[in-house]
Symmetry: C2
DNA sequence: GTCCTGATTAGACAGAGTCCAGAGCTTCGT
DNA sequence: ACGAAGCTCTGGACTCTGTCTAATCAGGAC
């Protein structure tokens, strides 16, 4: 995502470019995810979308998030056993995860090098490498 | 865990060393986790334990798994949004995750080096670094 | 307007995990 | 041996995240 203002019109365009029919609800959901440059969970997005304007159902939020995932418009981050976070940043990157607060912070992947990985099992291909650095406030 | 036969007697000793009262149920649960050198989910463990001998309740399995986690007897692996896997291997290591089959494979951490990580946010300490290599069968 | 297709909806449902109040074991003192 | 105290275990109710379904709705083509 290059830096740009996320207006609803822009987002409609982005959706169209990915082959997603930009309906009112989808635009609102995209707006909720992208304007807030953070990692949100499905229920946060549901709450955000329903704060303003017309009601959007839980089913639509989940459907839409899965659609966005499929079209690689967003990524999912699995760090908490109880819920998935959705990440508007699709550039290669990793995460700090604050286990006290649940806060996620991006780590740009450009400077990261991982060496010593064993060869993949036969006939397998890498789909992605996720690095999660779990951190905690030092004062234990 | 050094290589050793996991008899119920050994396991009782292991639990005691960690300050865990080795009750019948806890030993059976430990046995299920350690004899099977794989990554099991809570429901698999529940099924394994109830295959043989006296019934153990779901609540006890969850309580015990959390107790083992707390006492650092096992680790949890969070890769699948729908369930947690419990890992009998507490040595530093990472994982291959086969997204087709759900299969988890250990990667010894001894040879792995990660360079280029940014400094931790102020006042934070690292709790652990998890690397998950998501893999998939090459023939798509 | 009418059709057709795809999107949305409410609510039922499923599965993982937690909570709680009661019952069961152990241990210990008497 | 008895009773009290303190863990531990249990079934079942409950919560929460996420999915499914059947019905409704919106919007474009004609």
């Amino acid at each position: 995502m290059p830096e740009m203002k996320f207006t609803r019109d822009n987002l409609a365009e982005v959706l169209r470019n990915r082959g997603i029919n930009p309906t009112h609800q989808r635009i609102e959901i995209a707006y909720a995810i992208f304007s807030r440059c953070e990692h949100s969970s499905a229920d946060q997005i549901l709450a955000l979308v329903n704060d303003r304007a017309s009601e959007t159902s839980k089913a639509t939020v989940y459907n839409t998030l899965n659609l966005f995932l499929e079209k690689k418009l967003i990524r999912e981050v699995i760090v908490d056993p109880s819920k998935v976070f959705y990440d508007p940043n699709t550039d290669p990157h990793h995460h700090f995860y604050n286990t006290d607060t649940g806060e996620l912070t991006d780590i740009d992947a450009r400077d990261i090098r991982v060496t010593g990985l064993p060869p993949l099992p036969h006939g397998m291909a890498t789909e992605g490498v996720d690095i999660i650095v779990r951190i905690r406030s030092k004062a234990a």
